[in-house]
């Protein structure tokens, strides 16, 4: 597999960050960074990471099954994650999730047909004091009302329509 030069650089720096013989440590960050470029943890990517770190395919696969941010199937280009845990719940997190389902016409862990959006109800993302909070990709949005949510989604959709 070939990655972009930036990713190759990041991977080689990463592998060099652990003591000799402990390269397996690089696995989880490596999967995260590669997934961002490839779109998901494909079978090819599993084989590639295993080969680069001297692991078996299974050693990589069992790790992927454990971590909720590693996906074997492609998710939307803009992955919308709505927190409904306790702090968000108290100030409208569940209502926001219900609104998000309607707005995106998607259910929990579903991806739109055009691959632009996916939706996930997630656990605490560490924005409790600025709840309700969502993340789109890695970007945090705090104190999100349904109106703010619609604006965020409409803006992304607009850009995609222009590109097309």
């Amino acid at each position: 597999m070939t990655f972009s030069p930036e990713l190759e650089q990041r991977i080689s720096k990463l592998i060099g960050s652990y003591p000799a013989g402990r390269q397996r440590s690089a696995l989880i960050p490596m999967l995260m960074y590669c997934q961002d470029e490839v779109g998901c943890v494909s079978e090819e990517l599993i084989q590639e990471c295993a080969a680069r770190l001297g692991l078996s395919r299974l050693q990589v696969d069992e790790v992927i099954g454990y971590y909720s941010m590693l996906h074997k199937k492609p998710i939307g280009k803009h992955h919308v994650q709505v927190c409904t845990n306790i702090s968000c719940l108290l100030v409208g997190g569940e209502e926001l999730m219900a609104h998000a389902k309607k707005k995106l016409v998607l259910g929990h862990k579903e991806t739109s047909a055009d691959g632009v959006f996916s939706l996930e109800e997630v656990e605490c993302m560490g924005a409790c004091s600025w709840a309700p909070a969502i993340q789109i990709g890695y970007e945090f949005h705090h104190n999100v009302t349904p109106q703010v949510f619609d604006k965020l989604i409409d803006d992304i959709a607009l850009v995609h329509r222009k590109v097309q």
């Binding site: 960050s17 989880i28 971590y67 845990n85 702090s87 719940l89 108290l90 656990e123 409790c128 945090f140």
Partner: protein
């Protein structure tokens, strides 16, 4: 960036640079006593550094509240294996959002704290395990690390002191369990994040089975100020055995939610009504979770003038935990709240220990049916019993973290659980037929 207005009632120690321009840059840090504590520590013996941390009464800010100086002193002085410093930045306890703020606004304070820990135990390599969701923070922290290397505060022969230290930012990939120290180490070794049995503790056999100091972000961030101003100074900011300030994250039904740095022992009533501006709509307080969702819930009466330090909160059988103070007003549906908390633990249970894996699943099912009004009266006692049987029977505290709130919610708000079931008469045909259906 600050996400909420600071409060005039704060005591700014860890957050003292937050309002400076470019507070995250190394130039700002160096211009405001940055890395001075490290230089002071270089001239001290390792025992003197640990002694100062012991005097400070600094206790682990991740949740357990274990005395930091004592934890460091458990690391063997002589070791054939290299020693490691590991920072727990896998902040994911519901209600907690402080480490994010500390790393975003003053990353060099954390780096300096790590360096001092390195001096104290004789370690030359550190890893900062940052939860995967905080990718922007990993990128920011890598910039800070690069700055520190460029200016000679990391790497070989730091600032001419002869001390070498390397630091790496390591990304997690979404698992609450990896905030538990032994699971974090497994994850850092590139494996599934399941807990290890202890002893041996990480101080003796941690990362790669080598001696490891593992502390929370906030704990390391407190270290430079302790070395610079003295352990006694830090201890005096708090209450006996509970030194310093801590970051409290106010969330839920509160007018001014936010992260505030307040002295240990700060009065909870004042925290809610003065720092947090009270409850929206002047509603009455019903309950508070004092330190993240794992901690037993407190009733409004228990919260009255409660000093927020580890020992005072422990005295009323709860925990100060990770500093996530979740405020619930009189309108809160406690069964609903408990159900959401249990959904979380069931989702995050790693499945390694059966009492936790099965217990959280059954508790979630039972809470769900009680909430929907289709449970049976015996469910309440059964949930209580299941939770009681989880306590202390798992490798890591996740089982306890799910059981403790369950027990406290049932003990303190049993009436609300019963009200949801009140339509069903105990022993009636309806109850019997429901029981049959549920089996």
């Amino acid at each position: 960036m600050l996400y909420n207005e600071p409060s005039p009632l704060e005591t700014k120690v860890l957050t003292r640079r937050f309002e400076l321009q470019n507070s995250a840059s190394i130039d700002t840090y160096l211009a405001s006593d940055g890395y001075k504590a490290f230089m002071k520590a270089v001239a001290m013996t390792p025992d003197a550094i640990i002694g100062e941390v012991k005097t400070s009464n600094l206790r682990g800010r991740g949740g357990a509240g274990f005395p930091t100086g004592m934890k460091w002193s458990f690391v063997p002085k002589q070791s054939d294996k290299p020693k490691y410093i590991v920072v727990n930045a896998d902040e994911s306890e519901p209600g907690t959002c402080k480490d994010r703020i500390l790393m975003e606004n003053d990353p060099h304070q954390l780096i300096e704290g790590i360096l001092i820990a390195g001096l104290a135990v004789g370690s030359h390599l550190g890893y900062v395990y940052i939860r995967g969701e905080y990718r922007y923070l990993i990128d920011l922290f890598e910039v800070a690390i690069a700055e520190a290397y460029a200016k000679g505060w990391l790497g070989k022969n730091i600032n001419g002191t002869g001390f070498d230290f390397d630091l790496v930012a390591h990304s997690g990939a979404g698992a609450y369990e990896c905030g538990e120290e032994s699971a974090l180490l497994e994850s850092l070794e590139g494996k599934r994040g399941v807990p290890r049995i202890r002893p041996p503790f990480p101080a003796v056999a941690g990362l790669y089975q080598s001696p490891t100091v593992l502390n929370n972000v906030e704990t390391f961030c407190a270290v430079p100020a302790i070395i610079l101003n003295g352990g006694q100074w830090f201890a005096d900011l708090g209450t006996p055995r509970n030194g310093g300030t801590r970051m409290f994250c106010l969330s839920g039904h509160i007018n001014k939610p936010g992260v505030y740095e307040l002295p240990m022992g700060f009065n909870l009533t004042r925290m809610i009504y003065e720092v947090g501006g009270g409850i929206p709509g002047n509603k009455k307080l019903k309950a508070v979770i004092p330190g993240g969702s794992s901690c037993p819930v407190l009733t409004a009466a228990e919260c009255q003038d409660l000093p927020m330090d580890y020992d005072s909160v422990a005295k009323i059988k709860s925990m100060l935990g990770s500093g996530g103070v979740v405020i619930m007003d009189e309108t809160t549906d406690m069964v609903r709240a408990m159900l959401r908390i249990m959904k979380f633990y069931q989702h995050e249970s790693c499945g390694w220990c059966i009492p936790c894996r099965e217990g959280t699943t059954w508790l979630r099912k039972m809470l769900g049916r009680v909430d929907e009004g289709v449970g049976v009266n015996s469910d309440i006692d059964l949930m209580y019993e299941v939770a009681k049987n989880m306590l202390g029977r798992t490798f890591c505290p996740l089982g306890d973290a799910a059981a403790m709130p369950t027990l406290s919610f049932i003990e303190k708000f049993r009436g609300e659980f019963e009200a949801k079931l009140s339509a069903v008469v105990p022993g009636s045909f309806e109850e019997q037929s429901r029981l049959v259906q549920l089996v």
